[in-house]
């Protein structure tokens, strides 16, 4: 099966979908972290756009602001913010996901000084007091969007957006089931490509795209993978990496990536008004190493995913200088290996083509170790 054949990989930051939205007078609000409730942006009649770099390896301008000790993905995104690629954004939502991300947003805002800029302060643990605070944060974001875009976010609109994104999550689970089959009908690179594309769409269009894709694949022949892998790590939109790994005969049947399944991990609670539900659902579903007290939850989710997808091994892939994932990877490797799941930890630079050969060699060796070598 040719990966991403029917899908087509996203290559443009300012893609046709967004252009069309803007041509019709629509406004676009950028965000970077999955802790941002996109429902709120959508309910304001706006297009939520997840900041990505699509493999951009030119970081000349960003390197003038951030250091080489900063995450190359954040620098790649900042570059596109500074060079004007992201000038179509009408607003930006910062989150305190990690030190690199905070620095990226600060530099972006220093240089671009966007009129609609909101710093969504996401607590690092879930408790009654932190939840109340996060809900206030969402209320402030709502008010800002209403003011800046002369709109009103009604409870009805929020409910509709919540339903819309719930449908997306439901579709993602269906897609994941196709990946997890004995003979997968969807590859990891295809799933990532779908997420990359969908993360700059409104929910109804994202759902439609997922449905169409799955419809095409439902009756297709499955793949017999040389190895069933799970990929873990931070945000990466590099479909190419998945493709390179899968070209070795493996299939990434599951993932715990920030562009990937972690973006769909939000479990909506049903009690309370919509803003409260959003606050509680999001704050309780951040499976990111930034949630310091919640390693056990992250580990359990990984174990459950690995078992459900019957993986032969897991690859923990993160960008150099990412301390959050760098430290978590040590614990994940220890715990997964104790449970009989071999783990390969790989550190790389974002979009560094020179890294691919090195990584392929290590993945090949890993596949030999887990019995999936050619």
């Amino acid at each position: 099966m040719e990966t991403t054949k029917t899908l087509g990989r996203e290559t443009e930051i300012y893609n046709d979908y967004v252009k069309d939205w803007k041509d019709k007078g629509g406004k676009v609000v950028g965000y970077a972290c999955v802790a941002t409730p996109v429902e709120l942006i959508e309910a304001a009649g706006l297009l939520p756009y997840r900041i990505k770099a699509l493999g951009n390896s030119d970081t000349e301008l960003a390197d003038g602001e951030m250091s080489l000790f900063n995450c190359s993905f954040c620098r790649a995104c900042l570059q596109l913010g500074l060079d004007g690629t992201y000038d179509f954004l009408d607003g930006l939502v910062e989150t305190n996901g990690c030190d690199h991300l905070r620095a990226m947003f600060e530099n972006w805002q220093h240089q671009k000084n966007l009129d609609c800029f909101y710093y969504l302060k996401v607590p690092h643990f879930l408790r009654d007091d932190s939840l109340a605070y996060f809900e206030e944060q969402l209320e402030q974001l709502k008010e800002l969007l209403e003011e800046k875009f002369s709109t009103r976010v009604s409870d009805e609109a929020l409910e509709e957006a919540i339903r819309g994104w719930e449908t997306v999550r439901e579709k993602w689970r269906e897609l994941s089931a196709l990946r997890e089959l004995e003979e997968p009908k969807v590859t990891g690179s295809e799933a990532l490509a779908l997420e990359v594309k969908g993360s700059s769409m409104r929910s109804e269009d994202f759902s439609r795209m997922l449905s169409q894709f799955m419809e095409e694949r439902k009756n297709a022949a499955g793949i017999r993978p040389a190895a069933r892998l799970m990929l873990c790590g931070p945000a990466t939109d590099e479909v190419e990496w998945f493709e390179e790994i899968e070209r070795l005969g493996a299939v990434v049947v599951a993932d715990a990536l920030c562009f990937g399944s972690r973006a769909f991990a939000t479990a909506m609670v049903s009690e309370g008004d919509p803003l409260h539900r959003l606050a509680e659902s999001y704050l309780s579903s951040i499976f990111c190493p930034r949630m310091y007290l919640e390693y056990a939850r992250r580990r359990d989710l990984l174990m459950e995913t690995a078992r459900r997808a019957r993986v032969d091994g897991a690859i923990y892939l993160y960008n150099k200088f990412c301390d959050l994932h760098g430290v978590d990877s040590v614990l994940v490797r220890r715990d997964l290996e104790e449970a009989g799941i071999p783990v390969l930890v790989l550190e790389k630079e974002y979009s560094a083509k020179a890294d691919i050969g090195r990584v392929k060699t290590r993945v090949q060796a890993f596949m030999e170790r887990i019995g999936g070598g050619a």
Partner: protein
């Protein structure tokens, strides 16, 4: 050369450092030049640098001997805390220790102080502990200060903490993450006080609520309530030291600066491990008295004060002689770093609640927590350091960047530009490490600083020659 101080495999670095430090009890109170020379020759090279850094300059000698003896006493208390029925907790250097001294049965040990001790006292510095961390698979982008500070407790027998606390979630990933990791690895509980990146009244109020919950959790865990009377005693001690800190700050404004460079390190250790205790008051008092005396006599180590620099981030602490003493001999005064800027609110000692509220403000505005956990890292950092540098009359700034500190490294370019615009102060940008000399050797640091002072600072201070304007408008 093995002079009897070599660490053995698996040895607990903290215990080893204390054992070596005990030598200072054997030193006479009034050390002569010959005594210092003898002490220097008795020890291995790393410790030689420490001996020189602390004892070579007559102005430093008396104070540092006094201080290290008191510090050793506190560290030995930490060592014996569990035997005396107390819980030992690891704390980071971004946390006010006085809050733990306010408990009858909790004793704090600052991990970065442990790292600093090992680096400056043990053979091979902290390298074996850093390498051990790398062997565990931890990323090399972590902070050496807290990695070297925690790893000794992973290796071999010896002291173990009962819990780990940290408050850097939201302000520093490497710091928070290594403490969380240590909790998991050592199988001991972790207590977290999150700093909201929100400087509004709501953010401060939330932090106060978090602090109260934090205290409550510690009370439940330790099985004893924080007594109001004990808290008051500790806070009163703390504020005696605060008075002296304010006086100390004012003394640094004089030209030439009467405060020896090494006192900056002393203040850092005092604040991180000793605040809230009599030892901090005694050492601060001595630092103030000695600086006053130097001010009175006009004493300054070099012939001339060539440059007054503000370290915009943190000192490099792996070679006291190469850093503090060398700059002092060169006529380069260190006015402070980010860790020297403290904000102490007016304290209301009337109740436990009021003191905890004051404590929440202290912790909220604690160095690094305040800036790196600020709503804007760059703006809060710039505001604070620009104020400090200008208040103390700095001529220039040095950014001793640390590879682990992604927050500052990510905004340092903006900081440097704005510092020049706002305060007219040039900043030398350097990257290295606090505790690991392998990143940037001290010789390289010295070369860069010397060139900077000669080429930039001296020229900036020299009166500008007016160009003669010739008839016709051209300059001569």
């Amino acid at each position: 050369m093995d002079k009897g101080f070599v660490m053995r495999e698996g040895e607990n670095g903290f215990e080893r450092a204390i054992a070596i430090l005990e030598m200072i009890y054997k030193l006479p109170d009034n050390l002569s030049e010959e005594d210092v020379e003898a002490a220097k020759n008795f020890v291995f090279p790393e410790l030689q640098h420490t001996v020189i850094g602390l004892l070579e300059l007559p102005a430093d000698r008396e104070l540092e001997l006094f201080f290290f003896r008191l510090l050793l006493g506190i560290l030995k208390e930490a060592q014996n805390a569990q035997a005396e029925g107390k819980k030992l907790v690891f704390i980071p250097f971004t946390f006010p220790p006085e809050i733990f001294y306010a408990f009858d049965n909790i004793f704090p040990l600052c991990t970065e102080i442990v790292g600093g001790l090992i680096t400056n006292i043990c053979y091979g510095q902290g390298e074996r502990f850093w390498d051990f961390a790398m062997g565990l698979g931890l990323p090399d982008s972590l902070c050496s200060a807290n990695t070297i500070g925690t790893m000794p407790f992973f290796m071999g027998p010896g002291l173990r903490a009962d819990a780990i606390v940290y408050n850097s979630a939201g302000s520093c990933n490497p710091n928070a993450k290594i403490h969380a990791f240590a909790s998991d690895y050592l199988g001991i509980p972790q207590f977290i006080l999150e700093k909201p990146v929100d400087e509004s009244a709501r953010g401060r109020e939330l932090y106060f609520e978090y602090l109260k919950r934090f205290v409550q959790e510690l009370e439940e865990w330790s099985g004893s309530e924080m007594r109001e009377e004990r808290l008051r005693e500790v806070m009163e001690k703390s504020y005696q030291a605060v008075e002296l800190y304010n006086e100390f700050w004012e003394l640094k404004k004089a030209r030439p600066c009467p405060v020896p460079n090494i006192f900056s390190m002393t203040l850092l250790v005092l604040r991180s491990q000793c605040w809230g205790r009599q030892e901090a008051v005694d050492v601060m008092q001595k630092m103030v008295d000695m600086s006053k005396e130097r001010l009175r006599t006009g004493e300054y180590t070099a012939d001339e004060e060539l440059a007054r620099v503000y370290i915009t981030y943190i000192y490099w602490l792996f070679d006291f002689a190469g850093y503090f003493t060398w700059m002092e001999k060169e006529g380069i005064t260190i006015l402070g770093d980010i860790l020297a800027i403290h904000y102490f609110p007016e304290m209301d000692f009337s109740s436990k609640e009021s003191m905890l509220r004051g404590m929440a403000d202290i912790a909220f505005d604690y160095p690094m927590t305040r800036q790196m956990g600020g709503e804007s890292i760059s703006m809060r950092w710039l505001d604070d350091v620009a104020w400090a540098a200008q208040d103390l009359g700095a001529d220039a700034c040095i950014f001793g960047g640390v590879h682990a500190c992604k927050h500052t490294l990510g905004t340092a370019a903006y900081f440097r530009r704005e510092m020049m615009k706002r305060a007219g102060l040039p900043t030398l940008m350097l990257t290295g490490d606090v505790f690991d000399k392998r990143h940037t050797p001290m010789e390289m640091f010295q070369e860069e600083v010397k060139t900077f002072v000669d080429q930039v600072v001296a020229k900036k201070k020299a009166p500008r020659k007016r160009k003669k304007v010739q008839a016709g408008g051209g300059a001569e």
